[in-house]
């Protein structure tokens, strides 16, 4: 009950910013944070709960982005359906990847996801007929959408804010449900010891493939959103290793296997990244990297894990 109330409060807070400000830059920043939140939450489903550290989630982001763009540009499909299909496309791609990479465990699994992501990036870069290669795909104007008798203004940030806030909330809700479901308990068992998990009757391959699919779905939705928001995708923008790594950082710094952890991670790292960029300009990534080292050394359970530990001690 208390957790349900907490979820409701978070949901209301998430929808508030466009009512509080019409400053486009601030809204853009909030959209960025929520996009990273969605990505961190998605990655956490597999990496946090099941302990399967993927370094290749950019694949699902890129596939979602390209699917959405291609469906609109080539087939004229309304981008909002395209975004959902982008998620579905990411799921389709995740199935063979899961069946191949989950044959490996631990660091070998992680490396295999990295390799697969690079292969997919190179395919996107070279399959000109489908992806327009390194030039990328551009949407010049989004089609008008009527909502409650009004035409949505795509030049304003507000509609995008609501869409990404809803998606992030949906992913958090899915995490919350998963954490209370039997599958969630199975994933923690797999994280702890895969052989032992099999020995208590858990079909570990099935559980991992299902979770990867769920994780890929939300990551693909995020990719679709990215494409529509920036109206432009190219392989370097949506398939880079840096994107995969950033998703890992957000979940780890925030707190693995929690609902709220990746949200904290996204808020923290996005803000910090902007601050460092502003202050140090050229060398900002050095400070970012230094911060990551400190965070991992002193807060191995992430910010949220640390907060919970302090709470537990106080009570």
């Amino acid at each position: 009950m208390r957790r349900a109330a907490a979820v409701a409060v978070v949901a209301v807070l998430m929808m508030a910013p466009p009512f509080l400000t019409s400053n486009q830059f601030l809204l853009h920043l909030a959209i960025t944070v929520l996009l990273w939140t969605l990505l961190g939450v998605s990655w956490n489903l597999l990496g946090g709960f099941a302990g399967q550290v993927s370094f290749g989630h950019a694949t699902f982001f890129g596939v979602g982005a390209y699917a959405t763009m291609i469906l609109y540009l080539r087939l004229g499909l309304a981008p909002w359906y395209g975004m959902a299909l982008g998620g579905a496309a990411a799921v389709l791609v995740s199935l063979p990847i899961g069946l191949i990479c989950f044959r490996l465990r631990g660091p070998y699994f992680s490396l295999s996801t990295l390799a697969v992501a690079e292969i997919v990036r190179l395919i996107a870069l070279n399959w000109d007929a489908l992806t327009n290669g390194p030039v990328g795909l551009l949407i010049t104007a989004l089609p008008p959408v009527r909502l409650g008798g009004r035409v949505l203004d795509w030049e304003s940030k507000a509609p995008f804010y609501f869409i990404i806030a809803a998606l992030a909330a949906l992913a958090m809700l899915a995490t919350w449900r998963l954490s209370r479901a039997r599958l969630g308990a199975y994933l923690l068992a797999i994280r702890e010891d895969e052989d032992a998990a099999e020995s208590v009757g858990i079909d570990t391959v099935r559980a991992k493939v299902l979770t990867l699919a769920l994780s890929a779905f939300f990551t693909g939705l995020a990719g679709g959103f990215y494409g529509l928001y920036f109206r432009y995708v190219d392989p370097d923008a949506v398939f880079p290793i840096a994107l995969s790594v950033e998703m890992v950082f957000i979940a780890v710094v925030g707190g693995l296997a929690t609902v709220i952890g990746p949200v904290i991670g996204a808020v923290f790292l996005t803000t910090l990244g902007e601050l460092f960029r502003e202050r140090f300009q050229v060398g900002h990534l050095i400070f970012y990297g230094l911060f990551m080292m400190l965070a991992i050394r002193y807060l191995p359970e992430g910010i949220w894990g640390g907060v919970r530990r302090v709470w537990a001690v106080k009570r």
């Binding site: 039997r182 308990a185 068992a189 702890e192 010891d193 052989d195 099999e198 020995s199 208590v200 009757g201």
Partner: protein
């Protein structure tokens, strides 16, 4: 009919034949000891039966139905549970959660699964450690936790891989009592063990494996006098 039948089981690791045309049967309700010198292939046999390894050739039947090729989770759901030689608890999960996960195999609701887990842990003397992380338990307690976890899947056959290894004499005695209790509850037990005194005392029958082959099969008192067994353990006199 035998409950579990292993026939001509063979497993190669590269050029090494770890298990060689190994056959034995387990009768319902017995305690069967599987013994042999280090590296004889005992744990490999367990891994083959439970699906953690695939046999190179040979067959395994549970009540006449082949279980070869099933993955471990499916074997467990057919009624063969196991513990591990090197304990594998879920270290960061609570003692209760460790066993609850196993009870999910036949208890669909969390409440019922936790109840069953509590009962089993009580019986294993872990009733006062329910909320501790499994990693905090002593080795002896972790071994009992693994037995509780295996029993929570409601097995017909329980394979215990060195349940007494690394335990002190008092714990060994307690473990012996526990194994007999488990059998009294209707679970057939196969155990691999190095603690000879204990295994000779609690087993109804003993199978001896050496270099992957069966060299003896019979009641404990007869097996210990078998010249082949003595030779395997002590070596032969160079005349």
């Amino acid at each position: 009919m035998a409950l579990l039948t292993v026939s001509d089981l063979t497993r190669d690791f590269g050029g090494l034949r770890a298990v060689d045309r190994f056959s034995f049967a387990v009768e319902p309700g017995e305690i069967l000891g599987l013994i042999g010198p280090n590296g004889a292939g005992k744990t490999t046999v367990f891994n083959l039966i439970t699906g953690f390894l695939r046999p190179t050739s040979g067959q395994i039947f549970l009540e006449g139905r082949s279980i070869v090729g099933l993955r471990p989770h499916a074997v467990i759901r057919r009624g063969i549970a196991r513990t591990f030689q090197l304990v594998k608890p879920f270290p960061r999960l609570s003692v209760r959660e460790n066993v609850t996960l196993a009870a999910f195999t036949h208890e669909p609701t969390r409440r019922r699964a936790e109840e069953l887990a509590g009962q089993l842990l009580e019986r294993m003397g872990l009733g006062d450690r329910l909320d501790a992380p499994a990693a905090d338990l002593t080795l002896g307690a972790q071994k009992r936790l693994e037995v509780a976890r295996a029993l929570a899947t409601r097995p017909r056959v329980l394979l215990l891989d060195e349940p007494m290894g690394g335990l002190n004499p008092r714990e060994v005695d307690e473990a012996s009592v526990l194994v007999k209790q488990i059998r009294a509850d209707g679970v057939t037990v196969v155990l691999v063990e190095h603690v000879m005194k204990a295994i000779m005392r609690i087993s109804d029958r003993v199978v001896v494996i050496h270099h992957g082959e069966k060299i003896a099969d019979g009641p404990p008192d007869r097996v210990v006098q078998d010249p082949n067994v003595i030779a395997a353990y002590l070596g032969t006199r160079v005349a």
